[in-house]
């Protein structure tokens, strides 16, 4: 059963058609990634799923419900968690308190929230940093903090927006291994937006390629990556002759 279904979704900003008639779905148990060159509309798609923007046309169905015209907090309450490309921790609070923010979605008791947050942070190997202020932390920690906060909301689907961007490759791969273990947390599916192909190839079992708002390919990573239209989208038509036939 598809957990998330995107049906003919389009979104235009003024004169720019950011997302054009995109259709795909994410099944339970999948790790799907959206890839594509810059400006392809990937983050816009995420924003549409979480109702930060509303689609001009098309429907988005999550867990059987039509969420096309929801609100971001409504989407979160339904079980869609997300991280942001530009990390925004609560600087004046500690790492633990930051994650408690996410845990508070399901409880109003600070004690319970603290327990939950501790569990999540331990999973992400951040126990030592729990009581440090979020201000002044380095990027790898902050990226994990984003994930921790989203995890604490006990989402069914977690959307990771360029979660390894800016990390050195060793860091990125370490994080990728952790991400592979996310299903242990009861997360049914993961959607990611990524540029770092090393990570995508390592953990995705399904990828969707966007270019200029249009979905140009989808399928298993190894297979999609070799398709001519995908290579052309990234490298331009000049390299057509180098492509496998």
């Amino acid at each position: 059963m598809a957990l998330l279904e995107i049906k003919n979704v389009s979104k235009r900003f003024g004169g720019l058609k950011a997302v054009s008639d995109v259709c795909f779905s994410v099944d339970s148990g999948h790790m799907a990634f959206i890839v594509g060159p810059n400006g392809a509309g990937k983050t816009t798609l995420f924003n549409l799923i979480t109702s930060v923007h509303h689609a001009d046309s098309g429907t988005i169905i999550f867990d059987g419900r039509d969420i096309t015209r929801f609100s971001p907090d409504g989407a979160a309450k339904l079980g869609i968690g997300r991280t942001f490309q530009i990390v925004k921790p609560l600087r004046n609070l500690t790492v633990l308190e930051n994650v408690m923010l996410g845990a508070f979605l399901h409880t109003s008791s600070p004690a319970v929230a603290e327990r939950e947050a501790t569990r999540v942070l331990t999973f992400l190997q951040m126990q030592k940093a729990m009581h440090l202020p979020a201000r002044g932390m380095g990027l790898p920690m902050l990226k994990r903090l984003e994930i921790a906060r989203a995890l604490a909301t006990k989402p069914k689907l977690i959307l990771l927006d360029e979660v390894v961007a800016g990390l050195p490759t060793t860091e990125a791969l370490k994080l990728a291994d952790l991400l592979k273990r996310l299903p242990e947390w009861g997360i049914a599916a993961i959607g990611g937006v990524e540029h770092v192909m090393a990570v995508v190839m390592k953990i995705a079992d399904h990828i969707v390629v966007l270019d200029h708002g249009v979905l140009i390919a989808e399928g298993k990573p190894d297979e999609v990556v070799h398709r001519p239209e995908v290579i052309e989208a990234y490298l331009g038509p000049k390299y057509k002759e180098h492509m496998p036939s």
Binding site: A76, G81, L90, E97, M100, L101, K128, G138, M141
Partner: protein, 334 residues
């Protein structure tokens, strides 16, 4: 400075204040300390909206005035004093709901200006409706305490501050407080963890308006007479905001420290610089904003935090001072 340490200090100050009347006999001194604690309570109430959720209101005089005029008007309509205060609080909350609905949609300076506009509309309306409010001539306010000595009001203001401190302490620990702080930091992040930001902001404002109104009613009753330019003036709004910011917006102890500092300074200025005291007050505001933007408590907390410098966690990256670094890297690596 940890929350518990701040609460302990606040508690000590309140405790001392409760004992002081035994040693102080001049009405004048009691009145000064009354003012200190009144503005401390008002500052703490403002803090919930301005400090913790980052919605910097410059129109809190609207709620203060609603409390004052509410008491006067409902009492004149026949209600006994304390129920009239209750109704005044409700009136203030109704104003808050209206003001919030319009203002919260606005960003940055527009929000502040809108709050000012609402407060000014109320002030001018009070001035222009002499049949209702007595206009510039003013209105009588009933006495809230049987023996309306300055002492009763003194204790009332200290207790109001204690209430505000207790509420702030609870808020800081509870889910509500986390939601407020998330909203201050970034509303989109708050939304992404399921916080209903408009509703949360409104609740903070309603609570703030309620406490401010009680303060207004108290103040009005102490003088037994009010005029619009006294309780609905922009000066009240700015003083409340400055008390909180001087002490440290978003901290528990801040407004209390701010109120003590500001009121004492004002008294000293009045004594030394009779005619130029507003000039000095203005300069004080400038100095505070330029040199102590985090307020007294905020600055102290930051300096103390240096001692808690942490061991580097086992990751390849060293912690960097400030998060500006990753945005540049992320932009470069795209």
């Amino acid at each position: 400075m940890s929350r518990n340490l701040q609460a302990a200090i606040a508690g000590a100050i309140v405790g001392i204040a409760l004992l002081l009347p035994a040693f102080l006999h001049t009405d004048y001194t009691l009145q000064i300390i009354f003012r200190i604690f009144l503005f401390a309570a008002l500052g703490l109430a403002w803090n919930w909206v301005g400090g913790y959720s980052g919605q910097l209101s410059l129109g809190h005089a609207a709620y203060f005035g609603a409390g004052a005029y509410g008491l006067a008007l409902f009492a004149r309509a026949g209600l006994p004093p304390w129920p009239a205060v209750g109704c005044a609080v409700i009136l203030s909350m109704i104003f808050a709901a209206l003001i919030g609905k319009v203002s919260f949609r606005l960003r940055g300076p527009y929000f502040a200006l809108c709050t000012i506009a609402f407060a000014e509309v109320l002030r001018l309306t009070a001035k222009n409706l002499p049949n209702v409010t007595g206009g510039d001539v003013g209105m009588q306010v009933p006495a809230l305490f049987k023996y309306s000595t300055t002492q009763s009001f003194y204790y009332a203001s200290v207790l109001l501050t204690a209430l505000a401190v207790a509420l702030t302490y609870w808020i800081e620990r509870a889910r509500f407080g986390y939601s407020l702080m998330a909203i201050r930091e970034d509303e989109d992040t708050a939304l992404s963890v399921g916080i209903n930001t408009p509703r949360t902001k409104l609740y903070a404002l309603l609570l703030s308006a309620a406490l401010t109104a009680i303060g207004g009613a108290l103040y009005a009753s102490m003088f037994l007479y009010i005029v619009p330019d006294q309780v609905l003036a922009m000066e009240v709004s700015t003083e409340v905001a400055i008390v909180a910011m001087l002490g440290g917006a978003g901290t528990l102890l801040g407004p209390l420290v701010g109120a003590i500092t500001l009121e004492s300074a004002a008294e000293i200025f009045k004594a030394w610089f009779q005619e130029a005291h507003l000039l000095i007050y203005g300069i004080l505001i400038i100095v505070v904003v330029l040199f102590l933007p985090e307020g007294i408590v905020g600055t102290i907390s930051r300096k103390l935090a240096v001692f808690k410098a942490a061991p580097i966690p086992p990751f390849t990256e060293k912690p960097r001072p400030g998060a500006k670094a990753e945005t540049t890297r992320a932009a470069v690596l795209k």
